[in-house]
Symmetry: C2
Subunit: 154 residues, 2 copies
DNA sequence: TTTATACAGGACTAAAATGGTACTCAATTG
DNA sequence: CAATTGAGTACCATTTTAGTCCTGTATAAA
């Protein structure tokens, strides 16, 4: 299905929740309550987001989590990467291309172009968009054509 | 990683192999040999592709698999859907939206827009592109902006 | 300084998806 | 009929995913 993992989904929801009240610090328990998910799971997700540099944490009483930077500067690709690792459609489109089938494959290059286009799409969607209850209304010029499809055009 | 499953990857490679010699019928064993993958696995993949209507099969001696329609009319989204089911990024962007968290979620709509944009992207890449050893050189106008991003613009 | 709060890190387990195999049946050709 | 080749099904092993728990550590407030 080319689906996000459930944790990634949670991460997006939690991030959106924080983004909607970005002044305050949010404790894990409070967030879990707000989004109606089990505390430990939310906690785990939050830790991953901190490690990825999307959130900052403050220990102790009155502590909690806050966005590391404005919601408009955090992308869907960032959130996905924080939980699942870098966006890549196939083994071989990752850094360590240790696929032994390169010789017989014959589609690797083109998959990588598609992969890149998808990544670009996900980078064009920010947390600010996701958190907004209104539909995404970017007047963005998606550079899709530029990137992959005209890479070696005629 | 938002990665394709390995079987989907195999499917793409096998489809590309068939597409490059689309006149002949191809036995499962022959294809497995050509792409250097285990026979039973390739066989399984082929059956899924037949069930999805992307290949047609012919039993008996001299039988094998052929494309059900021209490579230019088979999309990456078709191949992915054949193996993994419909492209959808989250539970709730599928047909049976049985997610109980709709109330507290607050990002569902926007995820769906992103999901739709990705699907459109994948539909714009055909098997003919994938099978071509040259880079994709579509002069395609990707309708991404149209679909999701300006859906409710301004 | 004590205490309550709240995050950090890691170990562990249960469940599910994935990938791969084997075996039997059905159809076609010659 | 015999050889070939796909169809269908059931099964198993592995990996991934999700979720829990426990112990440690930093911070703030009383």
């Amino acid at each position: 299905m080319l689906k996000l993992s459930r944790l990634t989904d949670y991460a997006a929801v939690v991030m959106a929740q924080i983004a909607r009240h970005s002044q305050a610090s949010h404790a894990a328990a409070e967030l879990a309550e707000a989004v109606q998910l089990p505390h430990p799971t939310v906690s785990k997700t939050l830790k991953m987001l901190v490690r990825a540099g999307l959130l900052v944490s403050q220990r102790g009483a009155q502590g909690g989590y806050r966005l590391a930077r404005p919601a408009s500067q955090i992308t869907a690709a960032d959130i996905i990467a924080a939980i699942e690792g870098p966006v890549a459609m196939t083994e071989c489109s990752q850094a360590e291309g240790d696929c032994e089938l390169v010789a017989t494959c014959g589609v690797a290059d083109n998959w990588q172009r598609v992969s890149l286009a998808m990544r670009t799409l996900l980078e064009s969607v920010t947390l600010a968009h996701l958190a907004d209850t209104a539909p995404i209304k970017l007047p963005v010029q998606l550079p899709i054509q530029t990137i992959s499809l005209s890479a070696a055009s005629a």
